[in-house]
């Protein structure tokens, strides 16, 4: 029993830290409120969809901006397309409460609007970084929840 209580406390503390450090915002709470016995996996399902969506979009963004592409000069970058992808990522990150990813997307959109290549490259790096962080943290969170379910029997 004691082990379970400890696990639960760890989960509470960990979750609180994610909010405190700005990785997650209130929208994540909203999602948790939507989970119940009739849909016990809801949060994991939505977040998984987000991961898939984000990875697809980051891929597209990289393709558009990648320096290995020979004709990448400012004139050849389709900033509208770039912006469209960032807009999507901004939307989905907002919908699950991935606050830091969402914030970087806002800067990224500004860079696109300014047609600022350097800015876009930097933003892409940032958004990859933030995405990777929040992914790791959410996976940890879900793992901890699973441990608790298993420990509770």
């Amino acid at each position: 029993m004691d082990g379970l209580v400890q696990l639960q406390k760890q989960l509470v503390d960990y979750t609180a830290s994610l909010f405190r450090e700005g990785f997650l915002d209130d929208q994540f709470n909203q999602l948790q409120q939507l989970q119940d016995e009739s849909n016990p996996e809801f949060v994991v399902e939505v977040v998984t969809l987000f991961f898939e969506d984000a990875e697809r979009l980051l891929n597209e963004l990289s393709k558009t901006l990648d320096s290995s592409f020979p004709n990448r000069g400012q004139a050849s970058i389709d900033f509208k397309k770039l912006d469209a992808h960032v807009h999507q990522l901004k939307g989905s990150s907002s919908s699950i409460g991935a606050q830091r990813v969402h914030s970087v997307c806002i800067s990224f959109r500004n860079s696109c609007e300014e047609q600022n290549v350097e800015g876009c490259l930097k933003n892409l790096q940032q958004v990859r970084h933030e995405y990777s962080l929040v992914k790791t943290k959410l996976e940890t969170l879900f793992r901890m929840e699973k441990q608790i379910l298993e420990a509770a029997g």
Binding site: G22, D26, Q30, D36, N39, E45, L49, H87, S92, S94
Partner: protein, 232 residues
């Protein structure tokens, strides 16, 4: 059950179906999943589609069919509300709204627009075109609860409100303006209390008008502009 002096909401639609049926339109898979869950947990039947074109197809309004009776096509369930994203490829939510309002068969269905962008001219344009309300994303449970007021019954136009918060009758405008106050970039404050209780006085709340385009846009605009001046 509170009624705030307004006729109590009849949650049973006049049609055979007990539950309200919402057609949700969004090109984002993540958002579709969320809105679907928000609606289901609020006791609505949901049909979620990924484009305006598919929405029109579902309604029987697409190019191939002039009326929903052609080819014996009948939508599987009467639609009580349409909620659509604004920014979508090919057909925007605004274009979808126009098509619906142009249709004699479907123009009475309330249409709500969602957008991640808090752009006043956009909001105005949608409301002028007949949208019932405009929700700034991300969509929350309190937004959906408010929507139920549009769908429950057409005879009684009540200001649906979050009962726990005790907001006054004009819940529609209140929550809409609360959304307008929130800057996208600012991390969300805790849960969502309707903050504009000072704007509560309104004769509209008790009006039994069933026209979807009357009071909300008239009352919302000046109040919204007032609020907008305090933001950004």
């Amino acid at each position: 059950m509170e009624t705030d002096g307004v006729v109590s909401i009849d949650h049973v639609s006049p049609e055979d179906s007990q539950e309200v049926h919402v057609l949700a339109v969004d090109d984002s898979l993540v958002d579709r999943k969320v809105i679907e869950r928000l609606l289901k947990i609020s006791a609505c039947k949901v049909t979620a589609v990924d484009s305006g074109i598919r929405a029109l197809q579902f309604l029987g309004l697409d190019e191939q069919r002039r009326t929903s009776e052609s080819d014996g096509f009948v939508p599987s369930l009467k639609v009580d509300l349409i909620i659509t994203d604004y920014c979508m490829p090919e057909m925007t939510g605004y274009e979808l709204l126009k098509k619906i309002k142009e249709s004699s068969m479907f123009r009475e269905i309330p249409v709500v627009i969602m957008s991640s962008e808090n752009i006043l001219p956009r909001i105005d344009r949608c409301l002028e075109e007949g949208a019932e309300d405009f929700i700034v994303k991300p969509v929350k449970l309190s937004d959906v609860k408010r929507l139920k007021g549009y769908m429950a019954t057409r005879e009684v136009k009540v200001g649906s409100h979050d009962r726990r918060s005790g907001a006054e009758g004009v819940g529609i405008e209140i929550n809409n303006k609360r959304k307008l106050e929130e800057e996208e970039e600012i991390s969300d404050v805790s849960s969502s209390p309707p903050s504009i209780s000072t704007l509560s006085s309104s004769p509209f709340a008790s009006s039994p008008s069933s026209s979807p385009t009357s009071s909300p846009s008239v009352l919302a605009s000046p109040i919204r502009r007032l609020k907008m001046s305090n933001t950004d």
